[in-house]
């Protein structure tokens, strides 16, 4: 059975139900039931019109639930058996769903969960596994999220910035459990880019494709991290890079620069270098300047210090670094790197060990500990 097809139909099926006047939470439950039913039935009996099948089954589920509720309350069912004809479903439905599921009233974790279920068509169990929480916890998170957005009108334009942030969060979660969240984020962003012509949507899609292209080269078979400069660039996915670059160029031509386009431009410059030594660091520094102007983020300034260290030498990088707050995440790691390039192995080793203590995840901690160990071994020679 084609699970990708099934999942890609989710938002438009949900859109049809919501257009029929069903409240979002009930419609979403009905669609989820229909998806589960499809997984059960389709392999043996594939429908000729998959979307029509899903709409019909979801609609029946909704009626059953509504009737059961009505019976329980000993009231007359007020729902007609035959649905009123709905306006032809449009791309707009899909777009409104993205806005609703990433509504600014939701916390990031709730928006992520709701987007993956209602737009992505993942089951609660799959989402729970991907985020390593119990299924009951994830079910609660989703139903609370649905309650939060229950009063939101479905016909207002939403906030694209929160939608993009949610998709970015999903992508960054990467891969855990049996759901590939990075691939899922790309699929959802691609679907969004098809629904709306927006340079930052394109920028985010390009950014994801360019980073995804390096995925297999980023880790060794034992799970340890390979820094960008040491990656085997022949293992980068050239098709993904080509697609990302093309999308980015079209977006940049619109002349409405945003942070995702700028980040994608930096990723594209890395992708462009056949060898690490041929990286155009001068241009990368310029893009970091743009990015700092757009976001004013200290993390961007930290990355800029690294780029400057490559473009103008480690001393320049260290000078830029000195202007930043030492409490920034990864400050010690950047300082260690620049000091090593500057030839101060002792300081670099000490800073790498310090950076390992502050590492936010095990892979980074192991990587930084290895760097400290490598330099300490050098010093013993």
């Amino acid at each position: 059975m084609d699970e990708a097809l099934l999942r890609s139909l989710t938002p438009s099926v949900l859109g049809v139900l919501v257009r029929r006047g069903i409240d979002f939470a009930a419609a979403e439950d009905a669609v989820q039931d229909a998806l589960v039913e499809a997984v059960r039935v389709w392999p043996a009996d594939p429908p000729r019109d998959p979307k029509g099948w899903l709409v019909t089954v979801a609609w029946r589920r909704f009626l059953d639930t509504a009737r059961a509720d009505a019976a329980r309350r000993r009231r007359e069912a007020v729902v007609d058996e035959e649905p009123t004809p709905e306006p032809a479903p449009t791309v707009d439905d899909t777009l409104q769903l993205y806005f609703l599921c990433a509504h600014p009233s939701l916390t990031p974790s709730s928006a992520v969960a709701l987007t993956l279920r209602a737009v992505g068509g993942l089951t609660t169990r799959q989402i729970a596994q991907a985020y390593l929480v119990p299924e009951a916890t994830m079910a609660q998170r989703i139903s609370r999220a649905k309650r939060t957005v229950s009063g939101v009108r479905f016909d207002r334009p939403g906030d694209m910035a929160t939608v993009l942030r949610v998709l970015y969060l999903v992508f960054n979660e990467g891969y855990s459990g049996d759901v590939d969240l990075a691939a899922e984020a790309i699929r959802l962003t691609r679907q969004l880019a098809a629904a709306i012509d927006h340079p930052e949507v394109a920028g985010l899609l390009a950014l994801m494709l360019l980073h995804h292209a390096r995925r297999t080269a980023r880790t060794r078979p034992d799970g340890s991290l390979v820094p960008l400069a040491e990656q085997d660039r022949r293992r980068w996915d050239t098709r993904s890079i080509a697609e990302g670059v093309e999308i980015l160029q079209a977006a940049l031509a619109r002349d409405q620069l945003g942070e995702f386009q700028a980040q994608a431009a930096i990723a594209a410059l890395h992708a462009d270098a056949p060898r690490a030594a041929e990286t155009d660091w001068v241009q990368i520094v310029e893009w970091y300047d743009e990015l700092a102007r757009l976001t004013d983020s200290p993390v961007v300034r930290l990355n800029r210090a690294v780029a400057l260290g490559e473009a103008d030498g480690p001393r320049a990088g260290l000078t830029a670094l000195a202007a930043l707050d030492e409490a920034l995440p990864r400050y010690a790691a950047v300082a260690a790197y620049l000091h090593e390039r500057d030839g101060d192995v002792a300081t670099a080793a000490r800073l790498y060990a310090e950076a390992a203590q502050q590492a936010p995840n095990l892979a980074e901690r192991d990587h930084l500990t290895r760097q400290a160990a490598r330099l300490n071994a050098l010093r013993r020679r």
Partner: protein, 135 residues
């Protein structure tokens, strides 16, 4: 089946036999150690005895309630805290003896010079649900 918590300490446990900080090992020794830990967890998943394993950041904060309408009080991190937990593994095994056996294997993970660390791990039984049959 009974669940046990294997606790690894940054500080607070008696000193390991092979007590060299990881940043002083060679990169190959670190790789061997990481591989040993992975293999150990994978083997326990294979035997159906693995429940969970997590690592903790070295620094934490103490927090307590400070009365209605006030924000919680925070204190720390304390550089000199005696007991500092580094991480845990939860196993579900048939006997205490099996839990001790596995803790012993985990403590044999290779460290500096490729020799076992002989690290002290703390083994703590979970308090379980009351049994259905009580007489």
């Amino acid at each position: 089946m009974a669940k046990y918590l294997l606790l690894k300490h940054y500080r607070g446990a008696p000193a390991a036999v092979n007590d060299v900080p990881m940043s002083q090992w060679t990169p190959e020794e670190i790789s061997a150690h990481v591989q040993y830990m992975r293999d150990f967890a994978a083997r326990l998943e294979g035997t159906g005895e693995f429940v969970d394993g997590q690592a903790l950041a070295p620094e934490g904060t103490f927090v307590r309630y400070d009365g209605a309408g006030r924000p919680p009080v925070t204190d720390g991190p304390f550089a000199e805290t005696k007991d500092l937990i580094a991480g845990w593994m939860v196993i579900d095994v048939d006997s205490y003896e099996r839990a001790v056996e596995l803790a012993g294997e985990l403590s044999a993970a290779p460290g500096a010079g490729g020799k076992p660390i002989h690290e002290w791990l703390e083994l703590r039984p979970f308090l379980s649900e009351p049994p259905t049959i009580t007489e």
